[in-house]
Every structure is written in C-alpha cells, then in structure tokens.
C-alpha cells in the first residue's frame, strides 16, 4: 500500500510541477500571439489580455498575401534540410572514428573542433565575406550551407562521440566474430543504437540554420533567395517595425521547427536501449 501511495503522490507532484512550469514557459509565447493579433503594430500594451481589443487576423492575411513568406519558407526549408542531412552524415561517421580509435593527434583534433566555436562570431564576418567573394560562393545556397554546417558540426561530432562512448565495444566485436567488417559493424549494430543522438544532431543542425540571420544576410543578395530570418527582418525597421507582421511571421517560422521536433522525438525516446538488444 505504501509503495502505491508514494507512487501516486510523486506522480501528482510531477504533474503539478509540469503544469506550472509549462504555463510559465509558454506565457511569453502567448504574448507573441497577442502582438500578432493586435491592430496597429504595437509591441507593448497596457492591458494584459491575451486576446487584445480589436483582435484581427489582418497580420496573418498580409503575411501570406502581401509578402514573399511562402517563398522564404521554401528557401529556408531547403537550406536547413541540406544542413541537417550533411550534419548527420558527417557527424555520425566522424564521431564514431573519434570514439572507437586511438590515433596520433586524436586529442588535438577533438580540442581543435571545440576551439572553432570559441571565436566571437562578429569578428569573423568580414573575413568570411572576403573569402566567399574569392570562392565565388556569394549569393548562393552552397555558401550558406557550408558555413552553417561548419558551425553546427562541432557540437554534433562531440555529441555523437559521447553517445557512442556509452555503447560497449563488445557488441561490435561480437558482430566482427560473426563475419562483419568494420563498416558493417558500424552500420548494422552501432548506428541504430545511436538513434537518440542522431535525433539530437539532426534537430540541432536544423534549428541552428533555420532562424539564423547574420550569415544569411551577408551571403544572400537577392529577394528570391531570402530565408525566413532575412524575410522577417524586413518587417523590422529601427523605428517603424511592423510588429503585427513580425510576430505572426515569427510564430509561423516556429511551426516547422516544432513539427520536426514532434516527428523526431518519437525516435528520441525510442526505448531502443541496450537492454532490448541482447546476443
């Protein structure tokens, strides 16, 4: 009896905590919704109501009919998916090599990867621009994808390595004994078990490209190529921002990211733990 009561109490506290915390977390988001519904582009309001007075969907309508929003959506999706695929591919293999093998300079490589993240980004923009001009990658998606991938990879590679480290080598050894070569051992045994980490890598690569502004604005020079972040910035003006459009746009920008998370989170919590893979 005692065990059952304890369990119910803990469950109840957990629910309570989750409800309170989640409400606090989404309150600012509800604020953004209010801004999108408010007439006349007001960032602030003296009233706290979520549905503002005179609420109107005009921002949303303008968003889809008067701006190139759908075009930006397509562009951003292309770029982010490309970064996601490249990121997962390169990180899953690099992380594996770093996890399983000892070789000369391994520590240097690992630390080197981290080091690429330490430089303040603002300073890197000017030389990056010059470099891209020389390589004729200005105003192209390829330039953007390469830069995004290089910024997302360090975390992804480390993440994959860390996760591979929790998978015992004995599994691959067993597979080798059964006749697999190194690559097959990786692909058939280890890779599927690393699914949660792959999800994190995919999600991270996608998210870090999806709403990125500075690099995209420097590289892309044509309205048809603009990403969502650049598009959103168009609504911003140092003293005349169209807050309604901006808020509505921001909310729609988040939807694909949330959808991706919904789809991928099933694999995050796949339950495919070591316990279920025996022998």
């Amino acid at each position: 009896m005692n065990e059952k009561v304890k369990k119910i109490l803990i469950d109840f506290s957990a629910y309570l905590f989750l409800v309170i915390f989640t409400s606090l977390t989404i309150y600012p988001v509800l604020n953004v919704v209010s801004i999108s519904l408010r007439p006349a582009d007001k960032l602030l309001s003296t009233s706290l109501s979520i549905i503002p007075e005179g609420a109107t969907l005009s921002s949303y309508i303008s968003l889809f009919t008067e701006t190139l929003f759908l075009r930006w959506l397509l562009n951003s999706t292309l770029i982010s998916l490309a970064v996601m695929i490249t990121g997962v591919t390169l990180a899953s293999t690099a992380g594996y090599a770093l996890s399983r093998f000892k070789f000369f300079g391994k520590k240097a490589v690992m630390i080197g990867i981290l080091i690429t993240q330490m430089f303040p980004a603002t300073m890197l923009l000017l030389p990056l621009y010059i470099m891209l001009i020389k390589l004729k990658l200005l105003n192209s998606y390829l330039g953007v994808i390469i830069v995004y991938t290089s910024t997302a990879l360090p975390f992804c590679v480390w993440q994959m390595k860390g996760y591979y480290d929790t998978i015992p080598v004995s599994l691959e050894e067993a597979a080798r004994i059964d006749g697999c070569n190194q690559f097959q051992a990786f692909y058939k045994v280890v890779f599927p078990l690393a699914l949660p980490a792959l999800v994190i890598t995919a999600l991270f690569s996608f998210m870090s490209s999806w709403a990125e502004y500075v690099v995209a604005a420097q590289i892309l020079q044509e309205p048809e190529l603009y990403t969502l972040a650049i598009g959103l910035k168009q609504f911003e003006s140092s003293m005349a921002t169209q807050w309604g459009l901006y808020a509505a746009g921001s909310l729609f920008v988040s939807i694909p990211a949330v959808l991706l998370f919904l789809i991928l989170s099933r694999y995050l919590i796949s339950g495919l733990t070591l316990g279920s893979v025996k022998g």
Partner: protein, 295 residues
C-alpha cells in the same frame, strides 16, 4: 594500427574536419593579423602592422576587467540553470507512469523553436516597470513592490539572465532526454533489488551515463553563452542603463564596431578567445569528457 584502419579513420573523419576547419581558418588568421594592426576608420585600406599596441589598449581599459567578471557570472549562472532545469525536466518527463508527455515536451520546446528576436523583445516588454507582466504579477499576487527592471544595472542584468535561462533550458532538456535513453533498464532493476534510494540510483547509475552525453552540450553551452551577444543586446537595448549591462562580446560590438575600430575589436576578440580556451580546457579536464563511460 593496420593500413585498412587508417583509411577507415580518414574516410570517416576527414570530411567533417575539412568543413569545420576550412571555414574557420582564414577568418581566424585574418583576425590575428588585424589585431596586430591599426585598422580603423582612418586606416581602412592602408592599415599596417603596429605590434601589440591594441592589446595594451585592451588591458589598460579599466572597464575590461569588470565586464570580464560580469561575463563569467553571466555564463556560469546561465549554464547552471540551463542544466539543472533541463536535467530535472528530462527526469520527470522520462517517468514511465506519466501521461501527456508528448504535449508537455512539445510545449517546453517552444522557447528554442521561436526566433530569438521576438521573444527577447517580448521579455523586454514584460520587464517594463509599469505595464510589464512581471511587475503586475509581483504587485498583485505576491504583494511586493514592483522592480525597476530595466532602469537599474543589477536588475537589468538579472532580467537578461532570466530571459536567457528561458531560452536555453529546452536544449539541455532534449540532450538529457536523449542521454537517459542510453541507460540499460536492468541496472535500475538491480539497484531496486539491492534497496538503493532514489538519490543513490541517480548518483551511481544516471549520472555516469549522462555525463558523456551532457558534457559536449555543457562545454559548448558555456562557450556559446559566453559569446551570446543577442540576448543581452536586445533585452537591455544595447547596454542600458548607461552602458552598464554588457558582457565582453556586446562590449566589443559597441566600443569597436560603432566607431569602426577594427584593430582594437580584433585584439579584444582574440583576448576573449584565449579566455574561453582556458575555461574550455579546464572544464574538459575536470569532466574528463574526452573519455568514455566504460573505460
């Protein structure tokens, strides 16, 4: 080390390494060179190397040290909260007996999913003295007097931290959730039989498995937070009140870019880099993040 293995390693590792280092190397070297030069508005095309003079300027500016200190506080407070909240939520959301987990998970990820600019500005308006939700809540439900969030340096800094904590915990939560999946259930079952308490289970089973998975996130989290210009800039409107709300990178941006002092900005950035390098290496050593859990 067989030749075959070497090829394998290279094939698996090289593409990623080329992409990561290739993009960074030129800008990095360029910056080191500029930091030794006098590049500025008056010497934009005809700059020359002048040695370490810019570095002397960086270190002789009194503000540097106080901003550095503030940046350390900013980083460690933020990351600590990110991790604590993230891991805690992950543990709760991993509990088998709870329902509606997908809904909670998805709602909790919203801070990460929504573009930072609008949420940072929304938070800024929530901190408004008279009309902001936070002061209204404090006055009405907690019966305390409202806080001048954006008008006083300490409070403004706190406001930036609160906003950044809100933005950053979902990421740690997701990483922790992933990490929790790697833990074999039998270990918990065995511990249960041995009569271990919840805390003991956490310390001896959960933690060791979480460490290699969380270590990259935490280390990089420290690096990213240290260099996160956006939030401080947006919530404090560029350092208000009176240029008191700065971390090193926003200080570089303002002091240097506004006045086109590229040489000085580069030197300051290189210094920031070395500070981070020291912190990063120290942290790596402490968490032994380079090793795996089974070694």
């Amino acid at each position: 080390m067989s030749k075959r293995q070497n090829i394998f390693i290279i094939a698996f590792l090289l593409p990623a390494v080329i992409v990561m280092f290739g993009v960074i190397v030129y800008p990095f070297v360029y910056n080191i060179v500029i930091s030794l030069s006098n590049m500025s508005l008056r010497h934009f095309r005809d700059w020359r190397i002048i040695g370490l003079k810019q570095y002397v300027k960086v270190f002789s500016e009194g503000i540097f040290y106080s901003v550095f200190f503030k940046t350390l506080i900013w980083t460690f407070v933020n990351v600590s909260f990110h991790v604590l909240i993230g891991v805690f939520l992950a543990l709760v959301l991993n509990r088998k007996s709870l329902k509606f987990k997908p809904i909670f998970r998805t709602l909790l990820i919203l801070p990460w999913a929504i573009p930072q600019v609008i949420t940072a500005l929304t938070w800024r308006s929530m901190f408004n003295y008279e009309y902001g939700a936070i002061n209204i809540f404090i006055a009405k439900y907690l019966n305390l007097s409202p806080v001048e969030w954006l008008l006083r340096p300490f409070e403004a800094f706190t406001a930036c931290i609160i906003t950044n904590v809100w933005l950053g915990f979902p990421f740690m939560m997701v990483v922790a959730l992933g990490g929790l999946q790697s833990i074999p259930q039998e270990l918990y079952e065995a511990a249960e039989i041995d009569g271990a308490s919840a805390w003991q289970k956490f310390k001896n089973i959960t933690l060791p498995f979480l460490r290699p998975v969380m270590a990259p996130a935490i280390t990089l989290g420290i690096i990213w937070t240290f260099n996160n210009l956006n939030i401080v800039w947006l919530v404090s409107n560029g350092g208000e009140p009176a240029d008191q709300t700065h971390i090193l990178v926003s200080y570089v941006y303002k002091a240097a870019f506004n006045l086109y002092r590229y040489g000085y900005a580069s030197a300051l950035s290189v210094v920031i880099f070395f500070i981070l390098l020291a912190i990063g290496l120290y942290f790596l050593k402490k968490t032994r993040a380079v090793e795996s859990v089974y070694e």
